[in-house]
C-alpha cells in the first residue's frame, strides 16, 4: 500500500494532472482556489485513499495558496481521510432512516466479520470500517458506500458477498480508462 508519502515523492500522475487542469478551467482565473475540493478528491484517490500533510502541501503548491488554507478545508469536510486507511473504506450510513431498517445490526455484523471496530482497519489491511451520516439512500437502507459505489438493502448474506467481491477487486481511479 502506498501509505508513506514524503514530500519528495508527491507527484501526481499525468492523467491525474489532466483531471486537475480540467477542474481548474471551470473557475475564473483569479478564483482558482475554488478547485480545492475537487483536487483533494483527486489527491485522495491518487495517494492510497488519504491525504497526508505532504499531499496537502502539494495541493497548496498547485493552487498557489498557503498550506494552512488546504489544511483548514481538508479538516472541515468529512470525506477526507487524514490518516492511512485500508485498501477499501466501508462507510456505513447510521442515520435515522437507515437505523430504522437495520444499520445497527449491519455495523455489528461487519465488526464481527472484519475483527475490528468502527474507525479501525482490519488486520489484513483490506478494510477500514467507518460510519457516516446520511448518504441520501434512505429508501434502500441499510446501506454503505465504498468509494463511488453504493451497496443497498444489505443483509448479512449480501454484506458477506460484498466483502468477498471487494477483496478480489482492484481499486481503480475515476480518470483511468474503463473505469
Amino acid at each position: 500500500m502506498d501509505q508513506t508519502v514524503n514530500k519528495k515523492e508527491v507527484q501526481f500522475s499525468e492523467a491525474a494532472m489532466a483531471e486537475i487542469r480540467r477542474y481548474l478551467s471551470h473557475y475564473p482565473a483569479d478564483r482558482q482556489k475554488s478547485a480545492i475540493l475537487p483536487i483533494l478528491h483527486i489527491a485522495q484517490a491518487e495517494f492510497g485513499g488519504w491525504v497526508s500533510p505532504e499531499v496537502m502541501d502539494k495541493v497548496a503548491e498547485i493552487l498557489n495558496i498557503q498550506p494552512i488554507e488546504v489544511y483548514e478545508v481538508a479538516t472541515f469536510y468529512t470525506m477526507f481521510n487524514l490518516k492511512p486507511v485500508g485498501h477499501h473504506v466501508l462507510e456505513v450510513c447510521r442515520t435515522g432512516p437507515c437505523m430504522l431498517r437495520g444499520s445497527d445490526q449491519l455495523i455489528e455484523h461487519l465488526e464481527h466479520r472484519l475483527g475490528c471496530k468502527v474507525g479501525e482497519t482490519s488486520a489484513d489491511g483490506h478494510f477500514t470500517l467507518k460510519t457516516v451520516e446520511c448518504l441520501a439512500s434512505c429508501g434502500t437502507g441499510p446501506m454503505l458506500q465504498v468509494r463511488e459505489q453504493f451497496y443497498e438493502n444489505l443483509d448479512a448474506t449480501s454484506a458477506d458477498q460484498m466483502l468477498e467481491d471487494l477483496k478480489a477487486s482492484t481499486v481503480r481511479k475515476p480518470w483511468e480508462e474503463n473505469y
Binding site: H26, P28, R31, K33, S34, A35, I36, L37, P38, L40, H41, L63, E69, E72, V73, F76, Y77, T78, M79, F80, R94, T95, G96, P97, M99, L100, R101, V132, E133, C134, L135, A136, S137, C138, G139, T140, G141, Q145, R147, E148, Q149, F150, P174
Partner: protein, 447 residues
C-alpha cells in the same frame, strides 16, 4: 394516477442519453425560451406559476429570481443546490441519476432567464457516481449545441460545470454552499446581504434546488397558468416525495399537491401501507429537521380535517399540532420503533454536522446528543427531559443559519408528542435498554 410533470419519462430506456431524451421532447423549453421569449418573460412565468423552492424552505422561486441584482460589469451566477443531505430525503439523487438532461435543460433555461454566462451544479461529494452521470450528459449537451458559445444561434452563451462537495451537510445552506464553492470551509454567511446581491465571488447569485430547476422546463413549455391549475391554493404543481422507513414500498413518488396523507401512506400507488402488517406510530413528513408527528396528528389536523400533502395543510396548527412539507423527505415509523433512540440518532447527526461557528449550535447540539444518549442507554434522570426542551429552546433562533433550528425542532417535537416514552426510558432503564425493547401505551399504564 396523478399527473407526472417531472417523471413522466423516467422509466424510458436510455432516457439518460441526449438522443432518447430529445426524442421525448427534451430541450424544447430551451428552444422556446431562446427563440421566442425574453428573460423577463420567463421570470414572470415562473412567478405566476406559484412554484415554491423544493429544497425545503418553500420560498417562491420566481420572487427569488426577481430579487437578483443586475449591476453593470459584474457577472451573475446560477448555482444549483444538489447537496442533498437531509436525512430522509433522496429525491434529488434519484432525479439526477435517472434524468440528468432534465436538470441540465432546466439550468440552461433558468440561466438564460437570469442572464448568467456561467452556472454551477454543486453536488454533494458522496454522490460522485451521479456527478459522472451529469458530466457525461453535460458533454452531450455541449456536443449538440445546447451549451457553449451561441446556443442554437441565439447569441446566448453558457458554460455549465459540476462541482463536488466534500461531505458536509451544512453546505446545503445556500451561503455555506457558496463559501464551499469558493474553496473555503462551509461556514454560513451572515444575511443580509443575501446571495441575490452578494453571492458567488461577491456577484449576484441565485441558488436553487435541483427539483425547482427541473420544474422550470415544464412551466416554460406548458405555461404558468397550466402549472398553477395543479395543486391546492398556494401549493401549486407536483412534488417529489422520498418515502422511507417502515413502509412496504419505499421510493420516490411524484404526487400532485393536495392528495391526503392517508392516501399517500396507505394506497398501493405510493407507500403501500406499513410493513409487516404493523401499525403506524409516527411520521416525519419533510426531512429530519421538521417536527415529528404521532399517527393521529399526521392523518388529521387538530380540527379533525384530513391532512393534505401541501405546504399549508402539513403546517396547519403550527408546531403545536402540525409540521412542515420541507424537502419532502417522508419517513414512517411503525409501532416497534423507539422514538428515544431515533431522536438520539438525529441529535447525533446534527451535532456531527454543526459547522461550529455559532456557540448555541456547536455546544447545544452536543449537549442534546449527550442527554439523549444517557436516556437511551438507561442512565437518564427525569429532569433530563426538561433539560432537552430548555437546550432546544436556547438554540432555536440564536444561530446564523437554520441548522440550529433544524437540530432543535425534532428534539422538542419528540418530547412534546412522546414525553411518556422518554419518561418510561428513565423509569425503566433495564427494560428500555433490553434488546428489542419498545414502549407501548399499555406499559405506561402499568408504570
Amino acid at each position: 394516477m396523478g399527473r407526472k410533470l417531472l417523471t413522466e419519462h423516467i422509466n424510458v430506456e436510455g432516457i439518460q442519453t441526449f438522443d432518447v431524451y430529445r426524442k421525448h421532447g427534451g430541450y424544447a423549453s430551451v428552444e422556446k425560451a431562446l427563440k421566442t421569449m425574453t428573460p423577463e418573460a420567463i421570470v414572470e412565468e415562473v412567478k405566476a406559476s406559484g412554484l415554491r423552492g423544493r429544497g425545503g424552505a418553500g420560498f417562491p422561486t420566481g420572487m427569488k429570481w426577481s430579487f437578483l441584482a443586475k449591476p453593470e460589469g459584474k457577472p451573475r451566477y446560477l448555482v444549483c443546490n444538489a447537496d442533498e443531505s437531509e436525512p430522509g430525503t433522496f429525491k434529488d439523487r434519484y432525479l439526477m441519476e435517472k434524468l440528468p438532461h432534465l436538470l441540465i435543460e432546466g439550468m440552461i433555461t433558468s440561466s438564460f432567464a437570469l442572464g448568467c454566462r456561467t452556472s454551477y451544479i454543486y453536488i454533494r461529494g458522496e454522490l460522485m457516481y451521479v456527478l459522472r452521470i451529469l458530466e457525461k450528459a453535460i458533454a452531450e449537451a455541449y456536443a449538440n449545441g445546447f451549451l457553449g458559445e451561441n446556443i442554437l444561434g441565439s447569441g446566448y452563451s453558457l458554460d455549465l460545470h459540476v462541482h463536488p462537495g466534500g461531505g458536509a451537510y451544512i453546505c446545503g445552506e445556500e451561503t455555506a454552499l457558496l463559501e464551499s464553492l469558493e474553496g473555503k470551509r462551509g461556514n454560513p454567511r451572515n444575511k443580509p446581504p443575501f446571495p441575490a446581491v452578494w453571492g458567488l465571488y461577491g456577484c449576484p447569485t441565485v441558488v436553487n434546488n435541483v427539483e425547482s430547476i427541473a420544474t422550470v422546463p415544464w412551466i416554460v413549455n406548458n405555461t404558468a397558468a397550466e402549472y398553477a391549475k395543479i395543486g391546492v391554493g398556494r401549493s401549486t404543481g407536483t412534488k417529489l416525495i422520498s418515502a422511507g422507513g417502515n413502509i412496504n414500498k419505499p421510493g420516490v413518488y411524484e404526487i400532485e399537491m393536495g392528495i391526503t396523507v392517508e392516501e399517500f401512506i396507505y394506497s398501493d400507488e405510493y407507500c403501500g401501507g406499513i410493513w409487516k402488517g404493523r401499525d403506524m406510530k409516527a411520521v416525519i413528513a419533510g426531512g429530519s429537521s421538521v417536527p415529528i408527528l404521532p399517527k393521529d396528528l399526521i392523518l388529521k389536523t387538530a380540527n379533525g380535517e384530513d391532512r393534505l400533502m401541501t405546504y399549508e395543510s402539513l403546517s396547519d396548527g403550527g408546531f403545536a399540532t402540525g409540521t412542515m412539507l420541507g424537502s419532502g423527505g417522508f419517513f414512517v415509523m411503525d409501532d416497534q420503533a423507539c422514538i428515544v433512540r431515533h431522536t438520539w440518532t438525529l441529535a447525533r447527526f446534527y451535532h456531527h454536522e454543526s459547522c461550529g461557528q455559532c456557540s448555541p449550535c456547536r455546544e447545544g447540539t452536543g449537549w442534546m446528543e449527550k442527554v439523549l444518549h444517557r436516556i437511551e442507554h438507561g442512565h437518564g434522570h427525569m429532569h433530563d427531559i426538561d433539560l432537552l426542551v430548555s437546550v432546544a429552546k436556547q438554540i432555536e433562533g440564536n444561530t446564523i443559519c437554520p441548522l440550529g433550528d433544524a437540530a432543535a425542532w425534532p428534539v422538542a417535537a419528540a418530547v412534546r408528542h412522546f414525553r411518556e416514552e422518554f419518561e418510561w426510558h428513565v423509569k425503566h432503564p433495564e427494560a428500555a435498554t433490553a434488546p428489542g425493547a419498545v414502549f407501548t401505551k399499555a406499559e405506561s399504564v402499568i408504570a
